[in-house]
Symmetry: C2
């Protein structure tokens, strides 16, 4: 990893814990192993570091979205995976999704940073809403839509069913971001949530 990347990496770590205003250029430099003035050879100023992190996330996200479109074409293939979805499979998928977002360093730090900066301006509010509200809901909603069509799930309001699936997961994620020691408790609730979700919306009903 080159110096520029290392700066972004360490800055993200600090921003996610302390918030932009509480992180000093010197703190970032310390962690990178250089002096503060050297940092200005890589970025115009402190704000440019923050902006670069946001840009980087947008790029990664678009790549990921593109990769999903390639693997899933019109996403009906993604749904076909779920064609014969047992409760155990649903649990496994839910847990994997949850633990990935919780434990993946980049995802966790970026989410925490945005949490602290979401009210700072309209653009950041929109980024937060896109990443953690609208996109997960519309993607998950699309998958659930296919599953309803396939008769795996049953509902007359896919949007609300998706909200019922996703909102508790989001809620448990915010608990663990704030108090990581509550992860076991959250995982237990996650399992019970998914089991109950399956009972409510699954084939059997």
């Amino acid at each position: 990893m080159n110096t520029k990347e290392k700066i972004l990496d360490e800055a993200l770590t600090l921003f996610s814990e302390k918030g932009y205003a509480n992180v000093f250029v010197g703190d970032i430099a310390d962690r990178v192993g250089i002096k503060a003035p050297s940092l200005y050879k890589h970025f115009k100023n402190k704000q440019a570091i923050f902006d670069a992190i946001i840009d980087q996330m947008n790029r990664r996200f678009e790549e990921q979205a593109k990769a999903m479109n390639i693997s899933g074409n019109d996403a009906s293939i993604d749904a076909s995976i779920y064609k014969s979805l047992s409760e155990d499979q649903l649990l496994k998928l839910g847990r994997e999704f949850f633990l990935y977002y919780l434990h993946d360093d980049y995802n966790r730090k970026f989410r925490k940073m945005l949490t602290l900066e979401q009210f700072h301006d309209v653009d950041l509010a929109k980024v937060y809403s896109k990443l953690y509200v609208d996109d997960p809901l519309s993607y998950q909603g699309m998958l659930f839509g296919f599953m309803v069509t396939a008769g795996i799930l049953k509902t007359d309001n896919v949007q609300i069913m998706t909200l019922h699936f996703y909102a508790p997961i989001y809620y448990l994620l915010t608990i663990c971001d704030r108090e990581p020691e509550r992860e076991p408790e959250a995982l237990k609730l996650l399992d019970e949530h998914i089991k109950q979700f399956d009972r409510i919306y699954g084939r059997e009903n």
Copy 2:
């Protein structure tokens, strides 16, 4: 309102929008209509203002909890209100609860301030979790418990049922805190959520 109270009030307004570190003592003084140094006659320093806001919230919360215990004694009276709960009544109650927390200035500002400061230290994390995770869930869970006993609601896992009720409400609240212009959309989803909740857990099933 005396000067000390006005300082707390204006400080909360600013902290909730910009975060503690981005608010300067002079900003608070400006809004109060005094000069920065005068502010130090009322509070030892900037941190003391923040701490006083937290203390004030704790006091208000304890008063409210006490008032609920008096009016509801062992809370079984609260539950009796819901004895004959129609979908319309559930909708009305849910909407009132949601709009109160969203529009009440003190609640909204305090919640937004804590959102921005929740990772700053363990104490603030605990305050956030108490106010917006554990207490709502245990209080709502208690009410739902009575309603299950009374046969108004049906479930074999009250905790998860409560999570299914509360998590979407929390989720919609965070959307509106971040993007107030999305309130109509959130209210529509709130209504559909509660209707669906009633269909899932209500008497009829």
